[in-house]
């Protein structure tokens, strides 16, 4: 089979725009499937690549396009030692109408083979398939802050990158552990890494042109730093695992008049809920918290650190361990999916997109989901064939108003911040 080599168009353009007489340049390539497919880079990729590493040498060819291949291969061989593996050689030039061109050769002990070359296109073309449903060029300008990059936050981040959102701030101070893997978008490759950085790499796999900044902080101890990020964003997505962080983020969302989405799973992910806070227009997180709507809907405990943070110090180790009961990734997925859709509705506001009718449907600010008839849903009837009674695997919107006695957004405040 003819080897296949993928090259980033942006990198080729950069190389061509460099002045001076640089002829040979060391890049890097990653090979897959018995060296039949390569991803070649003229400079270090901005995300963590996968595959088996091998040398790559790029050359800016003359306008005439003539290259003495034999001489070049000798030059390449004397330049890098492939240690038995292949060397990818890129011949970069300018084609018709000033468009960049790239020819790839794969050099092995057996000789030189010409490869099929494909460009990974620039930003504008990457999301062209979304046109019609989402105005992706407008979404590329949107900035999202995501707090909590666990089983809930990480798939939301990924879905938003897939939809073409261009700017992310990821906030979490946890590292990826073995126990997280089965419910997380990242795998064993990322064990021990900060979830923020591991998820950033996943985002860049979906949208290599996204701008992703990360903050490895406990938001309860880095309030002003986090608030700066919230102030600079278009939307705040809260997938953290404790109320203190949600209370603090609620205040930041109100202070800066930024819409916030909160999602959580209840015990063993038997279900979950999603809250949208439109500051000063609808209920805030504290209004919901004090409304009784979430009473009896204890949050899922998925790890020891989470339990230790909220339990009095005298609770014994045994009890803590029995409290850690997690659901499946497929139990978290509907909650993350609902939050993603609500995020896209918010981010598409003011832009003519296919999301506007969804906006009309999402009249409620608080939604409840059930995965199984247990915990808070133990007394629900079976789904059967009726549409008229509550059932698992459906979303329910609840009518909730602002609480005039809420000590965070209620009437005690002299005035609301100017919007």
């Amino acid at each position: 089979m003819t080897p296949l080599v993928y090259v980033f168009e942006e990198q080729v353009r950069d190389l061509l725009s460099q002045a001076g007489d640089v002829r040979l340049l060391d890049g890097v390539a990653y090979g897959f499937d018995d060296w039949t497919v390569f991803h070649a880079y003229t400079e270090k990729p901005s995300f963590t690549p996968s595959g088996h590493i091998c040398p790559c040498v790029a050359m800016r060819s003359d306008a005439t396009g003539f290259v003495d291949e034999e001489k070049l291969m000798l030059q390449v061989r004397s330049r890098v030692d492939p240690d038995g593996g292949p060397i990818v050689v890129l011949l970069v030039g300018t084609g018709v109408a000033d468009s960049p061109s790239c020819r790839a050769l794969v050099l092995t002990e057996k000789g030189v083979a010409g490869a099929d070359t494909r460009f990974v296109p620039r930003r504008s073309e990457l999301f062209s398939r979304n046109t019609g449903l989402l105005e992706t060029s407008a979404l590329a300008e949107k900035k999202v802050v995501i707090v909590g990059l666990g089983s809930g936050g990480s798939p939301i981040a990924l879905e938003l990158a897939r939809a073409g959102i261009g700017h992310f701030t990821l906030i979490d101070f946890d590292r990826l552990e073995l126990g997280n893997i089965s419910r997380h978008v990242c795998g064993v490759n990322d064990l021990g890494r900060y979830k923020t950085l591991a998820v950033r790499d996943q985002l860049l796999q979906k949208n290599p042109f996204a701008e992703v900044s990360t903050m490895e902080v406990n938001i309860n101890q880095a309030l002003s730093q986090v608030e700066d990020a919230v102030a600079a964003s278009d939307l705040l997505i809260v997938a953290s695992d404790n109320d203190q962080s949600r209370f603090n983020l609620n205040q930041m969302s109100l202070n800066n008049n930024k819409v916030a989405l909160y999602g959580r799973a209840i015990t063993r992910a038997a279900g979950g809920d999603v809250l949208r806070v439109r500051p000063w227009k609808g209920p805030c997180y504290n209004c919901i918290f004090s409304s009784g709507l979430i009473d009896g809907r204890e949050e899922e405990m998925s790890q020891k650190r989470q339990a230790l943070a909220i339990l009095p110090a005298y609770v014994e180790e045994d009890k803590i361990n029995t409290m850690i009961q997690v659901g499946l990734s497929s139990d978290i997925a509907p909650i993350a999916n609902m939050m993603t859709k609500m995020a896209l509705v918010e981010l598409s506001r003011g832009i003519e997109t296919g999301m506007s009718t969804v906006d009309e449907d999402l009249a409620s600010d608080f939604y409840v989901w059930a995965n199984r008839r247990e915990e808070a849903y133990a007394n629900w009837p079976r789904m059967g064939f009726k549409w008229t009674h509550p059932s698992i695997l459906r979303w329910y919107g609840a009518r909730v108003d602002r609480d005039p006695n809420c000590l965070v957004c209620g009437g005690h405040l002299e005035e609301e911040p100017a919007t």
Partner: protein, 150 residues
Amino acid sequence: MGWSSQQSTRLHLEMDILSRYFPTFFLKDSIIPGHAIIEGTLRSNAGHEYIVRLHVPADLPNSVPIVEIVSPVLRDRFGHSLADLGTSYPMHLLKPENGVVRICHYSASHWSPNITFSKILLKIRAWLEAYEGHLDSGYAIDHYLPHMTA
């Protein structure tokens, strides 16, 4: 960083309520978030006085304030210092700091920004009555005060 304007408003509200229901309580070192404390005297039904200190959290009102009994030095019925008990479930005590007893009043899982300092002090009043009950009867404090389930 100082208090945000919302936090300043909240501190005023808290002190306003305290001035009505717990007038001996006053605010100290209020400029710096994380250092501000509120201190005053609570008197039990039997007439004993306790100096109580509440640490105003830097993220007021979003986390549980630490509450300490500064004086007198509290001892159990058998003469042992309560601070030496360390964290104690039956006595509703958190880990003491600098030998000062810290009361477990609201747990983090039951905290809400709607809970005012005045509500906390009501709980401390109840703890003090239970403590004096313990001195009389020898029953642990959770005989008198139910625990909040976590």
